[in-house]
Amino acid sequence: MKNDAKNSFFTNPLVLQNIMYVLLRVMSLKFTFSKKFREMIKNDYNTFNKTIAIQTRDKAVKLYMVFHDGKMKVRHGIPEKADLTIIYKSPEIIKEFATLSPEDMLNYLLTNKLTFRGNLSYLSRFAYLLNNFIPPKTDKKTETNTSAKAVPGK
């Protein structure tokens, strides 16, 4: 019973939205105070000026981030125009995501727990930003003999 109560508390859309709001606010502060972090969205080569919305399918959870000139602002609601909208199947799925590493985000597209509207590249970028904000959670290291060196370009 205790667990059920805890579960339902954390999947309550309002609670979830507020938790996410706070987390994203902390992330936005990191952009403000960490030069290294900020360089991920503003550097000599590009500035990430885009709006990313997050919502559940039923729109019970809805907030968005505005990236502009090296800053990130977090807002409640649905933006007039989003460059990317990340749509979680349900509040439960958002909670499930909290146990994952951000790089697994694309895998969730396969199971339809996550869908999106907009530019897939921004979803990839956002996942990487999260990955730098939230450390990867699982140690996936296994032995393999196919390691190869990634190189830029061709």
């Binding site: 360089e39 991920m40 550097n43 080569y45 590009n46 990430f48 590493s101 951000p102 790089e103 697994d104 985000m105 694309l106 895998n107 597209l109 396969l110 199971t111 339809n112 869908t115 999106f116 509207r117 907009g118 530019n119 897939l120 590249s121 921004y122 990839s124 970028r125 996942a127 990487y128 990955n131 730098n132 990867p136 140690d139 996936k140 290291k141 296994t142 032995e143 393999t144 003999n145 196919t146 390691s147 190869a148 060196k149 990634a150 190189v151 830029p152 370009g153 061709k154």
Partner: protein, 767 residues
């Protein structure tokens, strides 16, 4: 550099093909010329021993989320240093975020529904977001004459046309090809540098040979086999700098290299010299195989689930007949087979053509023997059936006889046919699921298909009514994929034109038209249809139990399917035991299978692609039968929820299906309705009481019967289920265990667990 080569120095926007040519020229001109110690071939695909090719204009950006974790992920980890990570994150990926094929198509078409469906990844997978390089260039021409005549031809044509667009095409060709020559020059300089260094310490001759060869090729025609292979390797590097390393294929190399082999041999006087030459040739081709493995495709983790363990699928084709219909099996065929057998590596993807009645039994036996030694390669094709299939869809006979396998198993006429043979992986089962649910897809939980009637409202009084609903859903889904493929194709014309590849085809130079715009002689698009067995078995269950014998009603069956047959064990048993399955060689099932094949062929063939060609269907699945299956609900066939579909065109592992009945069933399907080929997987367990020779003889007899009956293709896994299970338990003991997935080879221990289990659970045929 901030805008790549999008604008010239005056700020004028370059036409896409010119931009692409300038970029390629820059890359090749500035590419580090590397000659690896002990390598018999100069040049490398990347600057690393084994490198990952990153194509940000294609799917490269999907790696972005994993930049921090890619070195430690479970399947196919890549080492990456901090500099590379920073470069990709700050410069490369942001630049290409709005310039890649997927995003260009989305923005240009205002987020179309067909692309939304594509991005669910469970209905279909569109390969153009990654590549459209499933083709084979006209290497014989370039190997024989070199690149200079092509450049001169481009210059001459440029000076004789008035049209600016045409002039631009020829300029682009020339610029791109000159990039290749710059790279070859730099390799030659490197060879000279190494030679000078080596003179002090030893083997200068090795480097001198490189310098001499590179002075000639690929600019001019090759005179020896060694020069031909070196030339081919440089062209291969260049092509992979333009087109994604996904399915770009090498062609009929035994046939094409044989003249050089013969010419070399003629200059040799003694048996000893000839014997040494053959040994050197085996070493050279072995070296070429290893060089083909100096790059791996970029696969994001999501791709590991969809295409687990796949290499670049650089197909090499052997044997069969030549353009005149005579046997093409020659000395080089056996040299390639020897190398295949000795190395047992997953890439190049070896495909052998066998023409019953023209190619010898000894040759077929040798193909089987190499399969036995390697456990999984080469895949064997029936030349007669394939040529017949291609002829039936208006390929000229002489051209059809020159077909080569591409990527996995698909046919391409080298240098004439731009067929993007793997333009999409099409989940036919999704259409069946939608016809069971009035257009709602169970996993997506939304109305995706059209409303074709509800089982609960008795919408299907007869089996024909239900089949019609299935056909409508299939058509609906197919049309989504066609619109999506065409939209991505148009995006390629802007984002990724192919001046280099185009110069190695008949058609583009004559028409001043890039391959992506329809420059080739043949312009088809290939479709891989997935789940035929599951569909036929499901339709057969519905027909038999609901309509013919009335053992159950449709509502009950539907409920059982929805409940994954929980609480419906009796019905499940009935389905397993009383309904004839695909592969059992039952006439009624065979007719139904042919009907589904005909239906899907007609739906696709009658639509036109963005280059004006037909859509051609085939029945093979890479590893998508596992990915799609693990995302799909239970089926009327009795297949349970989230279980893989059967691979390619392979029967289910069930009672009533054995090797002979499978052979008769598959061979009975009409090749002309499957022109993009099939993958018929046969897992054979040799009898421990038989000798090697006896086993090879027996498998050869089965293969021969299959081909004589008209079967198009077959591929083996000659390995026991026990060995596979042991490999799952003790991967370190089986690092090189090669398996055929569905069209391509992979190392078993590097596959996703679902895929491993699917191979373990395939029916083990005894011979």
């Amino acid at each position: 550099m901030k805008t790549g080569f999008e604008h010239d120095r005056e700020g004028t926007r370059r036409p896409p093909i010119l931009r692409q040519a300038q970029a390629l020229n820059y890359i090749l001109t500035n590419k580090k010329p590397l000659i690896r110690t002990n390598s018999m071939l100069a040049g490398t695909t990347t600057s690393r021993d084994v490198g990952v090719m990153i194509y940000p204009e294609g799917h490269g950006i999907t790696l972005w989320p994993e930049l921090k974790t890619i070195a430690t992920r479970k399947i196919q980890p890549y080492d990456i240093d901090e500099h590379t990570r920073e470069l990709l994150d700050k410069k490369v990926f942001p630049f290409w975020s709005d310039r890649n094929v997927r995003e260009y198509a989305r923005a240009a078409n205002n987020s179309p529904r067909y692309q939304e469906l594509d991005e669910k990844f469970v209905l279909y997978f569109m390969w153009k977001t990654v590549a459209l390089s499933h083709t084979v260039p006209d290497f014989p021409r370039i190997l024989k004459h070199g690149l200079l005549p092509v450049i001169e031809d481009a210059e001459r044509r440029k000076n004789t046309v008035d049209d600016e667009r045409q002039k631009t095409f020829y300029s682009a060709t020339e610029i791109a090809l000159r990039g290749i020559l710059h790279y070859a020059d730099h390799l030659r300089e490197e060879a000279l540098r190494l030679m000078a260094k080596a003179q002090k310490n030893g083997p200068a001759e090795h480097y001198k040979r490189f310098a001499d060869m590179l002075e000639r090729v690929p600019a001019s025609g090759a005179r020896t086999l060694y020069e031909a292979v070196q030339s081919l390797w440089i062209l291969w590097i260049a092509l992979h700098n333009e087109s994604t390393n996904a399915g770009l294929s090498l062609g009929h190399l035994d046939l094409w290299l044989q003249p050089y082999f013969e010419s070399d041999m003629q200059g040799l006087k003694t048996d000893r010299e000839r014997e040494d030459y053959v040994k050197q040739t085996i070493e050279l081709i072995g070296n070429f195989f290893f060089k083909c493995q100096d790059h791996v495709p970029l696969v994001a983790d999501i791709g590991n689930k969809l295409f687990g363990g796949s290499s670049s699928d650089q197909a090499i084709t052997l044997g069969g007949v030549d353009k005149n219909g005579s046997s093409a099996v020659n000395d080089m065929t056996y040299i390639f087979l020897k190398v295949t057998e000795m190395l047992t590596i997953r890439d190049p993807n070896m495909n052998a053509r066998y023409y019953p009645g023209i190619n010898s039994d000894d040759y077929l036996r040798r193909l089987v023997e190499v399969n036995m030694v390697t456990s999984a390669t080469p895949s064997i094709h029936n030349d007669k059936a394939m040529i017949q299939s291609l002829k039936s869809i208006q390929f000229k006979e002489e051209d059809a006889r020159q077909w080569c396998a591409t990527g996995c198993v698909e046919p391409t006429i080298p240098g004439k046919h731009f067929g993007h043979t793997n333009s999409m992986m099409f989940n036919m089962v999704a259409a069946l699921e939608m016809s069971l649910n009035n257009g709602v897809h169970p996993l997506a939980e939304e109305q995706i298909g059209i409303k074709t009637g509800s089982i609960e409202e008795d919408a299907f009084p007869t089996f024909e009514d239900f089949f019609h609903a299935f056909e409508r859903q299939l058509r609906f889904l197919a049309y989504q994929t066609i619109d999506c493929n065409n939209s991505f194709g148009f995006a390629h014309q802007v984002i990724r034109p192919t001046p280099t590849l185009s110069s190695m085809f008949e058609g583009p130079m004559e028409k001043a038209k890039d391959l992506t715009e329809g420059g080739a002689v043949y312009n088809t698009s290939g479709v891989a249809c997935i789940g035929l067995t599951d569909i036929v078995d499901s339709l057969m269950t519905i027909k038999k139990l609901v309509y013919d014998e009335k053992k159950t009603d449709f509502k009950t069956l539907h409920k059982a399917v929805d409940n994954n047959f929980e609480d419906y064990i009796k019905l499940h048993t009935l389905i397993q035991n009383k309904v004839a399955k695909f592969g059992s060689d039952t006439p009624e099932v065979n007719r139904l299978a042919q009907r589904v094949v005909d239906t899907v062929f007609d739906i696709f063939y009658n639509r036109t692609n963005y280059r004006g060609g037909h859509y051609l269907v085939g029945f093979w699945s890479m590893s998508n039968h596992v990915a799609f299956g693990t995302l799909s609900g239970a089926l009327p066939s009795g297949r349970l929820r989230y279980k893989p579909f059967t691979p390619g065109l392979t029967p289910e592992n069930v009672k009533g299906v054995d090797l002979l009945s499978s052979i008769r069933t598959i061979a009975g399907l009409k090749p002309e309705k499957m022109p993009n080929n099939i993958a018929f997987n046969v897992k054979v367990a040799p009898d421990s009481r038989d000798t090697h020779e006896e086993t090879v003889d027996q498998i050869t007899a089965y293969a021969k019967s299959y081909f004589e009956l008209g079967g198009m293709q077959m591929q083996f896994n000659i390995v026991t289920t026990e060995t596979l299970k042991d490999a799952m338990e003790n991967p370190d003991n089986y690092r090189n265990l090669l398996v055929r997935v569905s069209g391509y080879n992979a190392y078993f221990v590097e596959l996703d667990k679902d895929l491993q289990l699917e191979i373990v659970n395939r029916q083990q045929m005894r011979v």
